[in-house]
Symmetry: C2
Subunit: 154 residues, 2 copies
Amino acid sequence: MMTATLRKQTSHDESEILALFDSLRQAHHDKDGEAIAAAYAKDAIVCDLSPPLFHRGVDAKEKQAWLDGWDGPIELDPRDFSLTVRDDVAFAQGYTRMSGTPKAAGRPVGFWLRDTICLNRTNGRWKIIHMHSSVPFYMDGSLRPAFDLEPVEN
Amino acid sequence: MMTATLRKQTSHDESEILALFDSLRQAHHDKDGEAIAAAYAKDAIVCDLSPPLFHRGVDAKEKQAWLDGWDGPIELDPRDFSLTVRDDVAFAQGYTRMSGTPKAAGRPVGFWLRDTICLNRTNGRWKIIHMHSSVPFYMDGSLRPAFDLEPVEN
């Protein structure tokens, strides 16, 4: 999850990767499971906010079921992403504010997460081969996820 | 963190990166804050298990204070790491079982985390420029960190 706020891009590869990230942002807004799945390599390793520890690839139907668990759009607002490209591999790192209304909660939620995204260009197309999204947890005894953090330097 | 169980390595760069990872594993075992800090670029972005969302670089004294909060060694057991190197950049991804005895807990703990590690070679030396370590959390209403997961495909 995603970004249109990277440093000024110049290369064709960078532009393609930024467009891929923006397609993910838009697909969450539109709740389009197929479009999300299309951004990933078939055997991508996905380390998501919730268990399992990882899964491989993104199944469009499973993703659609998850999207349909939200009332209205899911908004992803990227901040401070950096992008590094060398030859046919790339990685990006930054923060995303995720907000929306899970049906189970019945009220809006919003929090910042950390994203690290590794990509590969195969047959001329960039795909995500590894996505790592997370929220840290408090080690103060409460062990609660830290939904109250901002992406600022301390 | 870390690995000695990657695919068979051939290149000099890969060997250096594996040695760096192993130095981190050993430094946790030895509880050597200086050795941990030395593996990171000064302005590395570190997304750790606990807040803040990120911090820059690793301060040897702060790390030592954290290490000293554990009774005996902190063991890091890597599994299923992959490593991708292109020119002067690299990224690695895998799982690490962290175990030890936090003094505050007074009893041994152990759990699997996900690691994504991005590196850069500057002046002939590989350093970590981005570390992302996390545990997912249950979205079942409990919002507890998922300390009970294994790195297996479901």
